[in-house]
C-alpha cells in the first residue's frame, strides 16, 4: 500500500492547513509563523483536530508530543509534519492535578509510545489509550512522575557511603 505525499508549494499548503483546521474547529488561536501552522486548541478538541489533520488534510507524521509542567497546568505540544516542509503545531493546556486528555492513538498509531512516555514522566492520563503502561520507570511501587517540577532531584553525590 502506498501513501500519497502532499503536493503543491509550501505556502499554499500552509494556508490550506490553516484554513482547514480553523474552519472546522473552534480554535483559541491560530497563526502561521514561517513554515509552522500554530494552533492552540481546547483540551477536548485535540483528538478531533488531529483527526482532521490526518484524515482530511493528509498530514501523515506525528513527530512528537511534548508536555511542559507549568506547575498547576500542563501544556501539551503535538508536532505534526507533512513530510514536505510544513509543520502543524497543536498546543493545548490541561488544568488540574489529575490531568486527563483524550488519546490520539486512533488517529496516529505512533502516538502510542509517545503517550506512554508522557504518562510515565508526567502522570498525564490518556483516556482510551490501548496500553497505558510505563515504558521507563518501574511498573509498580513507584508512584512518582519524575519530570514533574515537584519531583526534586538531589545534587548530592550518589555514591556517598558506598566505598
Amino acid at each position: 500500500m502506498t501513501i500519497t505525499l502532499p503536493e503543491g508549494d509550501l505556502q499554499s499548503r500552509l494556508e490550506r492547513y490553516f484554513e482547514g483546521l480553523g474552519n472546522r474547529h473552534g480554535l483559541e488561536e491560530s497563526e502561521i509563523i514561517n513554515n509552522v501552522v500554530l494552533i492552540v486548541a481546547k483540551k477536548d478538541d485535540v483528538p478531533a483536530v488531529l483527526a482532521t489533520a490526518r484524515e482530511t488534510l493528509g498530514i501523515l507524521h506525528l513527530s512528537f508530543i511534548t508536555i511542559v509542567d507549568r506547575e498547576g497546568s500542563f501544556e501539551l505540544t503535538y508536532e505534526l509534519m507533512d513530510f514536505r516542509g510544513a509543520t502543524v503545531r497543536v498546543k493545548t493546556t490541561i488544568e488540574g492535578d489529575e490531568p486527563v486528555i483524550g488519546t490520539v492513538t486512533g488517529v496516529y498509531p505512533t502516538a502510542n509510545w509517545h503517550e506512554r512516555e508522557a504518562y510515565d514522566m508526567f502522570g498525564v492520563a490518556f483516556a482510551g489509550h490501548p496500553d497505558l503502561r510505563r515504558p521507563y520507570m518501574w511498573q509498580d511501587h513507584f508512584d512518582h512522575h519524575p519530570l514533574l517540577k515537584s519531583f526534586e532531584i538531589s545534587t548530592k553525590r550518589t555514591f556517598e557511603g558506598l566505598r
Binding site: E29, I33, L38, V40, R70, E71, G72, S73, E75, K91, T93, T155, K156, R157, F159, E160, G161, L162, R163
Partner: protein, 169 residues
C-alpha cells in the same frame, strides 16, 4: 537461482584477500599512539595561578570539581584575595567535556594527555590539588545558584510571546 554460490564465493574471495592483508591491530600497552594536540585527557590544575573564582565548579555538569575557598594575602600585596586552599577533581565523575577549561579566566585548569585512570575504590579517583584535602563526597555548592522559577509571576500558559531580544546575547 541461476548463479548459485557465486555471491558466496565472491565474499570468500574478499575474506581470503584480508587473510593475507595488512593487520591493523595496535599492540596497546607496548605501542601507544601519539595523541593529537586537542585530545582531552585527565584534568590538572596549576594551583599557583588559580584565583578561586569558582567558575569551573559552577559550570561543571557533573559537579566533579569542589573548591574550598578562603581569603588570603597570597601575593603579599597586602590585600586579601580569594584563595583556593582545597581543590579536588573527582575523576570518577568527570566526563572530559572541557567546559571548565573554557571558562577558566587564567587558564590554570587544563587537560593533560593522561587517560589511564584506575583505582580499587572510587574515592581514590578524587585527586587533591590544594593544601587541605576536600571531601569529595560532601555536596559542593550547587552548580547553578538558586534560580529556577522567575519570582512573582506564573509561567505563561501559551508561549510564542513576541521575543524582546534585549535579554538575549
Amino acid at each position: 537461482m541461476p548463479q548459485v554460490g557465486q555471491g558466496i564465493l565472491k565474499g570468500m574471495g574478499v575474506t581470503l584477500q584480508h587473510l593475507f592483508g595488512q593487520k591493523i591491530t595496535r599492540q596497546y600497552p607496548e605501542y601507544k599512539r601519539e595523541l593529537p594536540e586537542r585530545s582531552r585527557g585527565m584534568l590538572t590544575v596549576d594551583m599557583d595561578r588559580c584565583i578561586a573564582c569558582l567558575q569551573c565548579m559552577r559550570i561543571c555538569p557533573d559537579h566533579c570539581i569542589s573548591i574550598e575557598q578562603t581569603k588570603r594575602d597570597a601575593d603579599g600585596s597586602g590585600k586579601p584575595k580569594p584563595f583556593a586552599v582545597g581543590f579536588v577533581i573527582d575523576d570518577s565523575r568527570c566526563m572530559y567535556c572541557s567546559l571548565c577549561v573554557e571558562v577558566c579566566p587564567v587558564n590554570c585548569i587544563y587537560h593533560t594527555e593522561e587517560f589511564e585512570a584506575q583505582a580499587y575504590n572510587r574515592l581514590e579517583l578524587a585527586r587533591q590539588f590544594g593544601e587541605l584535602p576536600v571531601d569529595p563526597t560532601v555536596d559542593p555548592k550547587p552548580a547553578v545558584g538558586k534560580k529556577k522559577k522567575p519570582t512573582g509571576k506564573k509561567a505563561p500558559k501559551t508561549v510564542e510571546k513576541p521575543r524582546t531580544g534585549d535579554e538575549a546575547a
